[in-house]
Symmetry: C2
């Protein structure tokens, strides 16, 4: 068994990442979206990195996966009492990582080093790697101008119509050495694109200059897992955003987004009737249970995805012959 | 009734400040020690300012007066899990003021403006004024060198023997306009030195260049309340520090510390036998109940102190005649 690399973000992505970690431990490396990072009260928030850390550390809330279990809001209450901002809402536990991160960055450390330190202390086996140490900021283009994604998603509750997205800084952002290392690994076995909004979670990673080429460089199969089941995104904003952008919120639209990058696509059992349609796009397809309700579901899906990646590789090998 | 100014810090000082506020509301101005301020995790902590805010806002813990009632430590737990420092211990609610303060300072606002904003939002009638907007840092001089007071008090639990104290920056620190305004008030009625460690809480205030002269400028009586009852400090480090410094931990030693500044001194009923000894130093003395166990005790002592200040003024007027 070799190295597995997964592109991830959001709670859906983190759940599959958890399953992959249970199977592969330190042989798993995650490339995590930082396009939703933002500054608030002078602190550096990295929502996707922290969601990933909580999930992999086994401390994520079952109900609200983006924050730790048993989160409290004592600080927010006092903040309000002395005139602080009411949005975005701060959680007590959720403030620890931004606090340490801000201090580390101020001391000149790289985001990657800081994040790997968190993993080491929290006993997380997988390597959790930011997609870049340079700032990338996803903006939603609306009729009222470009809105930073955290504001669009949080304060505006995705209400403005999305006309498009931009990933400010992605073309100048450099790929960290740690990401280069895992993607150059001699034993690279598979690249997995976790189930997450393709437009604001996965696309910023892919748009880092040189990332797409690098993902294909070692020839390992690239397989994606659908974030859309039965015509709707399970969580978050993917479905609404796809409709705004004039795209049918369907697994097929996700495949089109990843065309020329992925070799295989896992859609949900509920969408089995779409398997042929995906194959007609030149992508191998598998229907499986992609909805992860339990921890066992996460591990089961991770196993399915890795098995599928092996099949994809063998199939490709046959085609070459 | 005119303006009352009180020099304060620590929970003991904050309790009397609370009583004074109940009697005088917006006609009370507090000059608060900032010599114990420190930076931690990149945030600006001002323990005496915050203790004062909690007490005056009516949210201080009855048991641990330096922090808000019902304080929790959820953030600290997560901080530890990802490799953050274990000391000093962070409270969730207690982090709100340092967070907003740090942001305000980074935006170029003065500590005084930020603190007055906190008061306005928290519905605090009195003006809570830092002794300076410039940094002053109290160090305890020990055989191992100069130790910042928060470290001496917190991590070291006052164990090293204190050979002396220094107030780094006090001679360059400027008195803020807001403090100048209240000390120049035409109706200045009294200056109260609240019960607090004279060496590390009151002395830094007095050592700000020009402060002693200013406190006497309008001729209002200056009265101090003892932090020492029956040969021991009620709370904190005053007694131990006084012994270290070779001074008997007694109300008389406190009077000597304030000589040529105060007109009157309130000692505890338990130390009534020391009244004549204090008077022999040329300071008017009054024995009263200085231990404040209830909110009513705070108001009662505040009333006693203000009445005493009036007596002192009248007595002085008679002497002049």
């Amino acid at each position: 068994m070799g190295t597995v690399v997964a592109l991830t973000g959001q709670f859906g992505g983190a759940k599959l990442a958890y399953g992959l970690q249970q199977l592969r431990g330190k042989d798993l490396a995650l490339i995590v979206n930082t396009g939703d990072d933002y500054d608030h009260l002078g602190l550096a928030f990295s929502p996707d990195l922290d969601t990933t850390l909580y999930a992999l550390g086994g401390v994520a809330s079952a109900a609200a996966g983006w924050e730790p279990e048993g989160e409290t809001r004592a600080l927010q209450g006092m903040l309000k009492a002395i005139g602080g901002p009411e949005q975005p809402l701060l959680g007590d536990k959720s403030l620890a990582a931004p606090l340490l991160r801000t201090q580390g960055l101020a001391a000149g450390r790289r985001l990657t080093e800081i994040t790997l330190d968190f993993c080491r202390h929290a006993g997380i086996a997988a390597r959790v790697l930011p997609m870049s140490d340079d700032p990338v900021r996803t903006h939603v283009l609306t009729d009222d101008g470009a809105i930073p994604f955290p504001e669009y998603f949080g304060q505006l509750a995705c209400a403005p119509r999305a006309r498009g997205l931009e990933y400010a800084g992605a073309d100048q952002a450099r790929i960290p050495d740690e990401v280069l290392d895992v993607l150059h690994a001699a034993d690279l076995e598979a690249v997995v694109i976790c189930p997450a909004n393709p437009y604001h979670t996965i696309r910023p990673i892919l748009d880092i200059s040189g990332m797409r080429e690098l993902l294909r460089k070692r020839g390992a199969p690239v397989v994606a897992v659908t974030p859309i089941v039965g015509g709707k995104a399970l969580k978050g904003s993917a479905g609404k955003m796809m409709r705004d952008l004039g795209k049918e919120p369907s697994p097929r639209a996700v495949v089109i987004e990843y065309l020329r990058l992925i070799d295989g696509f896992v859609l949900d059992r509920e969408d089995t009737h779409l398997v042929e349609s995906v194959r007609s796009l030149g992508v191998q397809a598998l229907a499986a249970q992609t909805v992860m309700r339990s921890l066992d579901d996460r591990v089961a899906l991770a196993r399915t995805v890795l098995d599928f990646a092996r099949t994809v590789r063998e199939h490709r090998a046959m085609e070459v012959e």
